[in-house]
Amino acid sequence: MAGYLIRRLVQAVLILLGVSFITFFLLYVLPADPVRQIAGRSATAQTVENIREQLGLDKPFVVQYARYLGALVQGDMGRSYLQKTEVAELILSRLPATLLLMVAAIVCELVLGLTMGIIAALWRGRAVDQTLMVTSFVTVSAPQFVVSLLLLYVFAVKLGWFPIGGYGTFAHLVLPAVTLAILGSGWYSRMMRSSMIDVLRADYIRTARAKGLSRARIVLRHALPNAILPVIAMIGIDIGVFMGGIVVVESVFGWPGIGQLAWQAIQRVDIPIIMGVTLVSACAIVLGNLLADLIAPFIDPRIRLR
């Protein structure tokens, strides 16, 4: 177990190094000059060159990357080019909102998705299965902006049940979390359905049925723990998606998450922020997957970590 953990952590560091290199390189070759964004339109050539020099953007790629990494290992993610604020501070200030929405949305997604998936699997091929699968297909493909605005309009503006966007109380959290759950639960229901169908075909389920166990017991005690493994792996991926930011939902509901920060930074070629957000979300994906792998043996004792 300890050996496994160390190996995975070393892997994680290598992955993050790779991600940082690729992102840094892509931003370097991008045909957009961050200095132009900082200097603005009225800047003289002298001002532009001065800013380039001050930020070290006149140095070759290798030097720039080495400097970035050097600062990074000392815990310094740099300062935003345009906001001049520490990137770590910008990300940290938005992290609580992002984590809160992530947890709430994943819980809602799981409740919704797993229920739909199990029901569809049990009544496979029937009308209820087909209805659920079409529904999940529709929600997965629905445009985020439209769904978000629709829910906001109906439940906040018209019915007045929730505040019109914002952050702070539980009431603020409901609509964005439910919106994300509706949009994302389709993935979970489809995965749960197919995984459940496979398990239900297995010999031990037939045995359980032959023993005369109740249907509820078979599904909940014997089938579910076995069928849920791929879903857990999926949560790991989902965490990464949420940490990378859910731009549209965040901006409609005025949710101060990381997505808006990343989106604005990309628009303005604010490289330190783009790097910071990328690395944080890459970390989240790596950790999410690691957690999923670590949890798996507890649910299914056949799995052993080596």
Binding site: Q54, Q83, G254
Partner: protein
């Protein structure tokens, strides 16, 4: 007699105290209350040496003051922290007499030392100010660094003498720019790079709270040196709000001014409802949207072709695409800018005439080219309209739909034959005709990386522009505007641009907002002049 003449000539000082009373705040204004303004994007910084976008510009204006200022709602200069000033006969020495007893938000009195420190700071390369170049006329600018500007001298605690290396008629406007705001050294030293998050100025408001990614709160500066203002107790800026949602919240009474304006998708609905339309203030804006024609790329090197393109574009139809939120443009300057040439009709829409010109240039069968455009609505739709207009005279324009930074890059590098400026169009830094020339039409801007995307460079016009800007004497202001008008007419003869439209401003406000309409379309404070608006009830 001779003596008297000489001394009046030396003192070109204006009757400043009289001018200062030109603007009387609304007598019905009621002090107190809080308003809420929303924005989609984060506020970048409140450091006056750094902040340079339309969102933080007016916020910085309310926290800081410079030596000069504008009469609210107009483009007329008025003194700010300077009580009066004198300009020497040769136009090279400006002596500013400061108001006494003005206090920074930290309680310390502002002095001439602070003025010098602020100008030294903004021009010091280490500050990385995007506006450093505006101060290029001050003596010693070339050697600006930690030792400061040799041209800025403290005469006594309430007098600053600024020496220029060349006459600059725009210098008083430059002193009204946010970049020239007076900042206290101790506060800058203490906050370091975070001064933009912990601003300390002399302005009408002070920053009370800044929760990153969520909101900023401005609080009234009770010791503000201008009597009677500001009226509001506080202003809350909420960021991260989608414009459509901001509008819904305004309709629900939660928001007073949506900072990003009325979203295009909702514009017809809002203006079609008399109750809502009544709360929209419309005004001119110092903005021009244009198509650049790169004179270095064939066939735009031919004057006939550039004129033909000017005649091919149906500007009326393009303004309809943006719901008529603009007026068709005839020239680079917008109508509300001093120096605008009244009565000039520009190139009229005439596809047949355009075809004839193309034939004259030996391109009767047309040609193929590229049109660069920024990828946010409504710009791609406008580009399509341009594409159709060009197709009608035989020109095939392929649209390059890119992110803003990429369009700016292509424009600066000179690789883009045509660019639609939408989303990047020129909005004046200060209300003076010279501001529409240098960076975007002059030779200096045509260098690699510059904003003169036409790469148009006419030495004779440049010389005329320099001559116009050396007419510093306020008595010759009318002549100077005429000279600038001539420069822009010269530009139109060469047709490096197709001026397409001048955007109008539509500011929506809640029912309880008071103050004259001009404050809501203030040319230098977008969206509103925070110092003078007030709330009813």
């Amino acid at each position: 007699m001779k003596n008297l003449l000489a001394s009046t000539a030396v003192m070109l000082a204006l009757a400043l105290p009289a001018l200062a009373q030109d603007y009387a705040p609304d007598p019905n204004a009621r002090p107190g209350g809080t308003i809420t303004i929303t924005y989609k994007d984060d506020v970048a910084t409140l450091d006056p040496a750094i902040g340079y976008d339309w969102q933080n510009w007016s916020m910085i204006k309310s926290i800081f003051d410079g030596l000069m200022d504008y009469v609210p709602g107009t483009t007329t200069l008025r003194p700010g922290l300077a009580e009066s000033y004198e300009i020497s006969e040769d136009g090279l020495v400006y002596t500013f007499h400061l108001l006494k007893g003005v206090k920074f938000h930290n309680g310390r009195e502002m002095t001439a030392e602070d003025v010098k420190y602020s100008l030294d700071r903004v021009t010091n390369p280490e500050t990385q100010s995007p506006g450093a170049g505006f101060f290029g006329a001050i003596a010693g600018f070339d050697k600006a660094g930690p030792d400061g500007l040799s041209g800025v001298e403290v005469v006594d605690p309430s007098t600053v003498k600024i020496t220029l290396s060349r006459p600059d008629a725009t210098f008083l406007h430059v002193m009204a720019l946010n970049f020239a705001s007076v900042v206290p050294k101790e506060a800058v030293d203490e906050a370091g790079a975070d001064f933009g998050k912990k601003p300390v100025g002399t302005g009408a408001y002070k920053l009370a709270e800044w929760t990153l990614g969520q909101r900023l709160v401005f609080e009234k500066n009770a010791d503000y040196w201008r009597p009677g203002v500001p009226f509001l107790d506080s202003i809350v800026f909420e960021v991260g709000q989608e414009p459509v949602v901001a509008l819904l919240r305004l309709q629900n009474g939660e928001v007073d001014v949506p900072g990003d304006g009325i979203p295009p998708a909702k514009f017809t609905e809002v203006m079609g409802d008399p109750a809502q339309a009544a709360r929209v203030v419309v005004g001119g804006q110092l903005h021009t949207g244009y198509i650049t024609l790169n004179v270095k790329i064939a066939p735009f090197d031919k004057l006939e072709v550039r004129k033909a393109v000017n005649m091919a574009i149906n500007k009326e139809r393009i303004t309809q695409i943006i719901n008529g939120r603009a007026v068709p443009a005839t020239q680079p300057l917008p109508p509300s800018m001093p120096g605008y040439t009244e009565g000039y009709a520009g190139y009229a829409y005439d596809p047949e005439g355009a075809k004839a010109l193309l034939a004259e240039a030996g391109l009767a069968d047309g040609f193929e080219t590229e049109l660069y455009v920024m990828n946010t609505d409504p710009n791609p739709r406008i580009a399509q309209a341009i594409q159709q207009d060009l197709a009608a005279i035989g020109i095939t324009a392929n649209i390059q739909n890119l992110a803003q930074a990429n369009v700016i890059e292509a424009g600066g590098a000179g690789t883009a034959p045509m660019i639609w400026s939408g989303g990047m169009g020129w909005i004046a830094d200060f209300p003076d005709p010279s501001n529409f020339y240098g960076p975007i039409l002059g030779c200096a801007g045509a260098a690699e990386g510059g904003w003169n995307w036409s790469k148009f460079c006419d030495e004779a016009l440049d010389a005329k522009a320099v001559a116009a800007d050396s007419m510093f004497d306020p008595a010759k202001a009318a002549d100077r505007l005429k000279a600038w008008s001539d420069v822009y007419m010269g530009v139109m003869d060469e047709a490096p641009w197709v001026p397409v439209f001048n955007e109008e401003r539509y500011t929506m406000k809640s029912e309880r907002m008071g103050g004259e309409d001009a404050l809501y379309v203030d040319p230098v404070s977008i969206p509103v002049n925070y110092d003078y608006v007030w709330v009813k009830q």
